[in-house]
Amino acid sequence: MGAAPAAVDTSIAARVRAEVERTIQRNIKGLDYLFSGDPNLGLTPKDTIYKKGTLQLYHYRPLAQEVYRVPVLLVMSLVSKYYILDLVPGQSFIEFLLKQGYDVYLIDWGVPRPEDRRLRLEDYILDFMPDCISRIEGDSGEPDISMIGYCMGGMLAIMYSALCPGPPLKNLVCLTTPVNFDGMGLTRQWTDKRYFDVDRIVDALGNVPPELMLASFDMLRPVARIAQQIRLWDNMWNDDFVKSYRMFDRWANDQIPFPGECFRQTTKELMWDNKLYKNELELGGRHVDISNIRVPFMSVMAEHDHIVPYESAKDLINLVGSSDKRDIVLKGGHVSMVAGPNASRRLWPELDGWLSERSL
């Protein structure tokens, strides 16, 4: 009869002891955290095979004995840094692809300079992307290419594919890609044309400053940063947690400006008029019709994506003209779907399974 209370006492004592130890560790490691530099990310070995302005086209060095015939091109968003796809060994999407035997290229748009304020979607889709693709054809010697676009990169990939639906494009994968801007939730509300003076912003500032972009992302989850700080303090004793936190925190704060004219165009033609979804968008005088896309297509959405809500991405599958097409919704958020432990368990193997059969 007396054994149970004694066990409880021991358990409580052990818990208190563990908590005291953690508190000490928090203080020691908290000091380390404050005085150590940012983690190094995006270090998978690569070569720059093409440069134009701030754009760099990378070719990653293979990590497999043999590779699939069709090279893969990753297209990043204009408003975030590419290294979210290449965090650290073991948590890098690019490293995963290389180890699975893909020949990987990536378009890094770089950080727009003030003189890039005049760049429009046409420049990216009808000039930079075709340039990069022809370089990849030359570099790889292959006539085909698979394209994977993430977030706004997916949107660029969709527009390119709609305008250039034939070879060399062989497969298209869109990760958390918005197409119906009426489903963009709060972002759509905040850019209401009655109150959001996009012309004034672009005319006065040129490129949209990264602080403004960061503030708008933060506003979507107003107390997330505070909660993250609390969790960080709570887990300061846990090296793995702190390492992971620092990687994602560095990327999230490393915002880049949005090229001014491109922002104006995106706001007016996509956010306000929803032209891509309504099949009314024209770039360089050419009609962007998503139904022109006939190559094998895969769209992946995140269940808890607050930046590109499900409502804004779900119709993409119905708009493409491919007969071989698939869409899936995975657990996770906008970032955790592509990077980190959640991605390595869910998205990466799923994508590999689909793409490997189509990369021969």
Partner: protein
């Protein structure tokens, strides 16, 4: 983020749960307010003020630097644009020269990568099927 399962049965587990729940609830509450037309109007107004301030400060600085005969931001952007044009033309010339000499413009970096693996890989399923058919 990192695995937090090991902290599940600890003394502070309920407090952690409370933090998570509060975060969700407060986010939702604030998002509801932020989703109203009134908030959008205020946000639009604040953005206008911010942009006007930036613009006025920029113009004042331009006048100040001009008075001191120093290059202004627009001067630097103009120089940047010219440099960018020169860069593009140089790259095109490099490309032509490389093509004429039969070497890739990025030859030096590609060479560092060493020989490339053959493009013969097959997915695991296809390999199994091929073996089964043999």
């Amino acid at each position: 983020m990192a695995d937090q399962k090991n902290s599940g049965g600890e003394a502070f587990a309920s407090w952690r749960e409370w933090v998570s729940q509060s975060e969700t609830q407060v986010n939702k509450l604030l998002n509801d307010v932020m989703g109203t037309e009134g908030y959008t109007r205020v946000l639009g107004g604040l953005t206008k003020v911010f942009v006007s301030m930036q613009k006025n400060t920029g113009e004042a600085m331009e006048r100040y630097f001009s008075a001191l005969s120093l290059p202004t931001r627009s001067d630097l952007i103009e120089v940047g644009e010219r440099l960018s044009t020169i860069e593009t033309r140089l790259a095109a010339i490099e490309e032509i020269l490389a093509r004429m000499s039969g070497v890739s413009a990025s030859g030096s970096e590609s060479a560092a990568a060493g020989p490339r693996p053959p493009r013969t890989k097959k997915p695991a399923v296809a390999k199994k099927a091929a073996k089964g058919g043999e």
